[in-house]
Amino acid sequence: MRGWTEFWQMGGYARFVWSAYGVTAVLLAAELVQLVLRRRNLARRLKQMRNLRTD
């Protein structure tokens, strides 16, 4: 197996390879976070609606 430094350098294409992989990873993670937050906000809104009704 190649060494770590060699691995990160990607044969001189590090800038391109890691920009591609990095942005992909960040975007996919961001979508998951956004969905979890959306669900949380929705739950809060639903609770507020119900509290208004029962008050």
């Binding site: 197996m1 691995f7 990607m10 044969g11 001189g12 294409y13 391109f16 390879v17 920009s19 591609a20 992989y21 942005v23 992909t24 975007l27 996919l28 979508e31 998951l32 969905l35 979890v36 959306r38 669900r39 929705l42 739950a43 809104r45 639903l46 609770k47 609606m49 119900r50």
Partner: protein
């Protein structure tokens, strides 16, 4: 339908599909993680450097799966939208709406990674060639469907308008796929053709297939997470939706 409560059509009701989608999520999330780890290992460690492109070609292992998913998710979205238009099942339109953002994301990733592959190999970030342009049109179609659905207040009318645009846009998918054959493009031809021996080594092929499966499983997870939000939002006045919030 009340006579046979276990029949699968009962899950066409958003209220019944909501908990089912929740139970299905782990069954796609776990494979998504495992396949990603395996796919990245194949793509970054096992696969040898390309004899012409060196290490830069490793972008292919996310570029090709993302491009495939962008087209596949569009077709899936259009089928759901079509069923929603014809049969008027609300859940189908909700599924179409749930798939669109993930499809748009993979389209963007395909364009972005392609750009970062094109720069070192072709010497340019972008060219207006048939493959790239039609993929960009796909991104605009996704965004158009999302914007149109979001702009109309009445959910039923929003579903119909978005669904119609999604259906019309389907013609773009074969254009993307065959663009490298129909036009003289800078973009290379298909890496893997049906009915022909693949032009790449076994380990590269495996890496692409595993990454594609990983993206696919990921798409199931986000589609189910999002459709649960859409259902809950649209049914927020229903008794069951109020109860759901208590049981988390």
């Amino acid at each position: 339908m009340a006579a046979s409560p276990t029949h699968w059509t009962r899950y066409a009701a958003p209220a019944n599909f909501y908990p089912l989608a929740g139970r299905l999520i782990p069954w796609f999330a776990v494979p998504a993680v495992l396949l990603t780890v395996w796919g990245l290992y194949l793509a970054l460690v096992v696969a040898p450097a390309d004899f012409r492109q060196g290490e830069a070609y490793r972008i292919m292992f996310i570029h090709v799966p993302a491009a495939w998913m962008s087209m596949w998710l569009y077709v899936t979205m259009a089928v759901y939208a079509g069923v929603g238009l014809v049969v008027r099942t609300r859940l189908s339109s909700m599924m179409a709406a749930a798939i669109a953002p993930t499809g748009a994301l993979f389209t963007f990733i395909a364009l972005w990674t392609g750009s970062f592959w094109g720069k070192p190999m072709w010497g340019t970030w972008w060219v207006w060639d048939a493959r790239l342009t039609s993929e960009l049109v796909l991104l605009f179609l996704y965004l158009g469907v999302m914007a149109l659905t979001a702009a109309i207040d009445d959910p039923r009318r929003a579903d119909r308008a978005g669904g119609l645009l999604a259906l019309v846009g389907v013609v773009n998918v074969p254009i993307i796929y065959f663009s490298v054959q129909w036009w003289n493009t800078l973009h290379q031809g298909a890496s893997i053709k049906m009915g022909a021996a693949p032009t790449m080594s076994n380990v590269m092929l495996w890496a692409i297939l595993v990454m594609t499966l990983a993206f696919w499983m990921y798409s199931f997870v986000t589609a189910f997470l999002r459709v649960r939000c859409i259902i809950l939002d649209r049914e927020r006045h229903a008794e069951w939706a109020q109860r759901v919030v208590d049981n988390r």
